[in-house]
């Protein structure tokens, strides 16, 4: 097997003494993609936080390009190619849109020009303060800001949550372009299971902190029984919800 870009080996992690994740083993190859599904509170965000180094790992190992990074700090991981879009978006309120983009930028193919090409709306709003943006604009900015660090792997935590359908479409288009065209690997946590599965190659479903199911995304998309059992999803209803 080729060396994975990111691998988790039997990871147990949580906050302080509380254990949230247990026995997590997964791998994302270069340019690969993984959808993480699961009900609220099963530990999806915690899994991304663990990959970024924000949780306490009490067992197992997090490997990045063959190297054990279990004890490395978040800023070190970010500099080595992990890009993170937090569920809370976490735009810096006292920075302008352009400052939000530039503050952590690193050289690479994603620069201001490329970002404004992907999200023209951010160009229009580039002088606005971070706290004067709509929800959709904040989400675009959070993704754009992570891209400006030119990551090899992008961690996206519910990027479509609470957005109007037209913006969801715009954002999924952007995600598709930046990953398919540019070959950026990604891990996507998403409530819109259908969208997540259509964007990704592989998928896992979490249940109470452990992996309850793994499949290729296109297979899981057709497996209505499993989806309904594990995340209570009825595909037809989800689709008509738009």
């Amino acid at each position: 097997m080729a060396e994975a870009l990111l691998a988790l080996e039997d990871v147990r992690a949580g906050y302080g003494d509380a254990i949230v994740l247990d026995g997590i083993t997964l791998a994302v190859p270069d340019g690969g993609s993984l959808a993480i599904l699961g009900r609220n509170g099963v530990g999806k965000s915690t899994l991304l936080l663990t990959i970024m180094g924000f949780t306490r790992v009490s067992r197992g190992a997090v490997m990045w390009r063959g190297r054990d990074i279990t004890r490395a700090g978040p800023h070190w991981r970010a500099r080595k190619g992990l890009g993170w879009v937090a569920q809370e978006r976490d735009i810096f309120p006292s920075l302008s849109v352009e400052e939000n983009l530039m503050v952590a930028s690193r050289p690479g193919r994603w620069d201001l020009g490329a970002i404004y090409g992907l999200f023209p709306r951010l160009r229009e709003r580039r002088a606005s303060r971070g706290n004067h943006l709509s929800g959709g604009e904040q989400q675009m900015l959070a993704i754009a800001r992570a891209l400006m660090t030119n990551p090899m792997l992008l961690l996206l935590d519910e990027p479509l949550e609470g957005l109007a359908p037209i913006i969801v479409e715009e954002l999924t288009g952007a995600i598709r372009r930046m990953t398919a065209d540019e070959g950026t690997a990604f891990v996507l946590v998403e409530q819109h299971a259908e969208v997540a599965l259509s964007l990704s190659a592989e998928a896992i479903v979490l249940e109470r902190g452990s992996i309850a199911h793994r499949a290729r995304s296109q297979d899981l998309l057709k497996d209505a029984a499993t989806l309904e059992r594990l995340i209570g999803l009825r595909l037809a209803e989800e689709a008509s919800g738009f």
């Binding site: 970024m52 924000f54 700090g73 978040p74 800023h75 970010a78 500099r79 993170w84 937090a86 976490d90 810096f92 309120p93 006292s94 920075l95 400052e99 939000n100 530039m102 503050v103 952590a104 690193r106 971070g130 800001r145 992570a146 660090t149």
Partner: protein
């Protein structure tokens, strides 16, 4: 009395600029990093003693000693930050107070041991002494120099914070530490550098203060109160707030001593109480 009103204003503003240099670093560490560093004026005192030693014992020119006052305070603060402060970043205010007030006691004892308990003299070069007449007013040259230095420093600070990448990283780290780290910003380093800059400015302020308010072993305690007042009135973390508050307090302190000698040094406290009742978060405070 009327004739000297401008003179009082001028002296008060110069004194305010001194308070600004002494306090701006504390405002930044307290407001941005949430660290209660009561030992801030120990760094100022260190700068003062460096200048005294360099000029009186080693014959350095006064101006040449100022960068060293800045540097020594900055370097000592880096060492302390590494060894002690960093461990208490997440700790309670009380723990931080206890540690840093302990450092004040130590610094005062060390200063008394080395320099004794007398006021330290400083030799100003002749071009900083005396006064010049501007528009019929006689203005102290040294105070003009003090005001000039402070305004230049304020401009540089504001520009650095607003227009450089490092300044943006400081603001980002203050807004949201977790996200800043998650984007690859070395927040610990950003804070350490900011802290060192603030302490260095205190060191510079301590050196510049000798001519105006004197220097002895107790400086770290005496000026802690003034510096805390400036920070509280100005609003935590606001450079502009510190500037305005320091000017107001400097002027009112000077005016109190001139016009209401019986109130003496108390006017500054009345001004503080009044301002804080009007704006509890400080003039420019946001939280």
């Amino acid at each position: 009395m009327i004739a000297s009103a401008f003179g009082v204003l001028f002296d008060g503003f110069a004194y305010g600029m001194l308070l600004f240099l002494l306090s701006v670093g504390l405002s930044v560490t307290l407001g941005m990093m949430n660290f209660v560093n009561l030992a801030h004026c120990s760094f100022a005192m260190l700068g003062g003693f460096v200048t005294v030693t360099l000029t009186n014992d080693l014959g350095w020119p006064f101006l040449a000693s100022l960068p060293l006052a800045f540097l020594s305070a900055a370097l000592v603060s880096i060492a302390l930050e590494r060894v002690l402060y960093r461990r208490l970043y997440g700790a309670s205010d009380l723990a931080q107070c206890l540690l840093t007030i302990g450092i004040v006691f130590v610094s005062v004892a060390v200063a008394a041991y080395i320099y004794g308990t007398i006021q330290q003299p400083v030799n100003l070069p002749s071009y900083l002494r005396g006064s010049v007449a501007i528009m019929g007013q006689s203005l102290g040259v040294y105070r003009l120099f003090l005001i000039g230095v402070s305004i230049v420093i304020t401009a540089v600070l504001v520009a650095a914070l607003e227009f450089t990448r490092f300044g943006a990283q400081v603001r980002a780290a203050v807004d949201n530490q977790r996200m800043a780290r998650g984007l690859g910003i070395d927040v610990d380093r950003v804070f350490a550098v900011t802290f060192a800059l603030g302490s260095g400015l205190a060191g510079l302020g301590g050196a510049l203060a000798i001519e105006i308010v004197g220097l002895d072993h107790a400086f770290a305690f005496t000026y802690l109160i003034y510096v805390l007042i400036v920070v509280a009135v100005g609003g935590l973390g606001s450079i502009a707030g510190s500037f305005v508050a320091a000017s107001l307090l400097g002027i009112s302190d000077m005016a109190g001593k001139y016009y209401f000698p019986e109130l003496g040094a108390f006017l500054i406290y009345f001004v503080m109480v009044a301002l804080l009742m009007w704006r509890p978060l400080g003039l420019f405070g946001r939280r």
